[in-house]
């Protein structure tokens, strides 16, 4: 029981913002209201509006 609790896998959600012009991508924590293709953020390279290209979960090993 204890070992099961120690190795509990907690999913964390991320959004990936992508610049449609230069292809620059940045991964950040998912925020409520995010959805794929939502305009979100500005590209640090060319100041173009970025869009969310992916939202996914990744499991973090919780020790």
């Amino acid at each position: 029981m204890m070992s099961r609790q120690k190795n509990q896998q907690l999913p964390k959600y991320y959004s990936v913002e992508e610049c449609p012009k230069c292809g620059y991508k940045i991964k950040r924590d998912f925020k409520d209201g995010d959805y794929v293709l939502k305009i979100s953020g500005v590209c640090p390279r060319d100041n173009s509006p970025m869009f969310i290209s992916m939202i996914y979960s990744e499991v973090e090993q919780h020790k």
């Binding site: 959600y13 449609p20 409520d32 995010d34 959805y35 794929v36 293709l37 939202i55 979960s57 990744e58």
Partner: protein, 376 residues
């Protein structure tokens, strides 16, 4: 001890008659008890295990009900509205008789559409001040609550029958075998409720995610309130892209939209390409992309039937591009492997268009699946 002779104490030599009797009891009584009552004891152990799984299913069903009511509360629905939704959790759908299967698809479609329309209408009445996204989330939460409630009640039914039956061990053993995977599915459904509230894409959104990129900057047309399509030009080919309308949870009516396009502006198309999440076999990697022939679409089969029907009548080949994932992944928040597979799937689709559709020709791509969290 001579070879071949039998010792009831397996070679142990007692020091007194009392010790002899004691060791005889210790060694032989459990043996006799296990011979006579072994199966019954095993049955008790199995039933205790099934009982534990049943408790977990009950907890999942109650939590899902609680999540639904708490979501309604947040959206300003209380009292009668909440009670009506609770009543809808136990609503039943009776499928048509299949002794004479001719025409059964239309009958099933009518029943499903009637049920969907009824639920939409009731939810619209209950959630008057909510927007479409919130109402869709509530409908999907209701579906999950209904599914979990049904799973719990069916398993409880067999559990109680097993307890009453003299030969219950055989039924109990079957229950014990399927329950671990059933409980995992129930847990995944419960977790999906959180995804619905936050608009997180599920693994099943692999198809809509793949095609959404092509629809982003193009003119979109509503086929109906749940389905959308757009057009693009790819190396001299005219291509229509269909998906359910996001980012709310919906699978759309892609079958009807396809039939409409094939019988209208896309008549004479050279190919229909369907992209969907498909169940992987154990040992296969999640997110692998494969290409094949045939209609890649799940559900109860009515959409698949209609797509096969229209493509066969018009003689248009149907190609399938699938992104492999497990059933649990399909109903859980999308994983990175699956999200990243969309790029590979797009390349496969474009390569199919180049090889199967001549320049100047037409094709239709369908992103199949629940588009929760994926716009267009």
């Amino acid at each position: 001890m001579s070879a071949g002779s039998f010792s009831p104490l397996f070679g142990f030599v007692p020091n007194s008659p009392t010790e002899y009797a004691l060791y005889m009891v210790i060694i032989w009584v459990p043996y006799v008890v296990l011979i006579i009552y072994g199966q019954r004891l095993q049955g008790y152990a199995i039933m205790a295990d099934v009982g534990r799984y049943l408790s977990r299913l009950k907890v999942d069903a109650e939590k899902s009900r609680g999540n639904l009511l708490s979501y309604l509360q947040k959206k300003g629905v209380a009292g009668d509205g909440q009670r009506t939704m609770e009543g809808m959790i136990e609503s039943v759908t009776i499928f048509p008789e299949n002794m004479d299967p001719v025409g059964i698809v239309k009958k099933m479609e009518l029943i499903i559409r009637t049920q969907e329309d009824h639920v939409k209408l009731r939810v619209r009445e209950i959630m008057k001040s909510a927007n479409d996204l919130e109402r869709t989330a509530a409908i999907n939460m209701l579906e999950i609550s209904s599914a979990l409630d049904m799973i719990y009640r069916v398993v409880r039914h067999y559990y109680l029958i097993t307890k009453k039956s003299p030969d219950g061990i055989y039924l109990a053993a079957q229950l014990q075998m399927i329950l671990p995977s059933l409980v995992k599915q129930a847990d995944a459904y419960l977790n999906a409720m959180d995804a619905l509230e936050k608009l997180l894409p599920l693994g099943d959104a692999a198809g809509p995610l793949t095609v959404s990129r092509w629809m982003k900057d193009s003119q979109k047309y509503d086929y109906d309130d749940e389905t959308v399509y757009s057009e693009m030009d790819y190396k001299g080919r005219r291509v229509a892209v269909i998906k359910a309308k996001g980012p709310g949870a919906s699978v759309g009516k892609v079958d009807d939209a396809l039939a409409n396009l094939l019988n209208g502006p896309y008549s004479g198309s050279s190919a229909v390409i369907m992209i969907d999440a498909a169940l992987k076999l154990e040992g296969e990697r999640s997110g692998d992309v494969a290409m094949g022939m045939g209609a890649a679409i799940g559900g109860i089969g009515t959409e698949k039937f209609k797509i096969e029907d229209v493509s066969t009548k018009l003689g248009i080949p149907v190609y399938a591009v699938i992104i492999k994932e497990s059933l649990l992944e399909a109903i859980s928040v999308m994983t990175r492997d699956i999200a990243e597979a969309a790029d590979q799937a797009r390349k496969t689709i474009l390569s199919l268009i180049e090889t199967q559709v001549p320049e100047g020709g037409k094709a239709i791509i369908i992103g199949v699946g629940n588009t929760l969290g994926v716009a267009q």
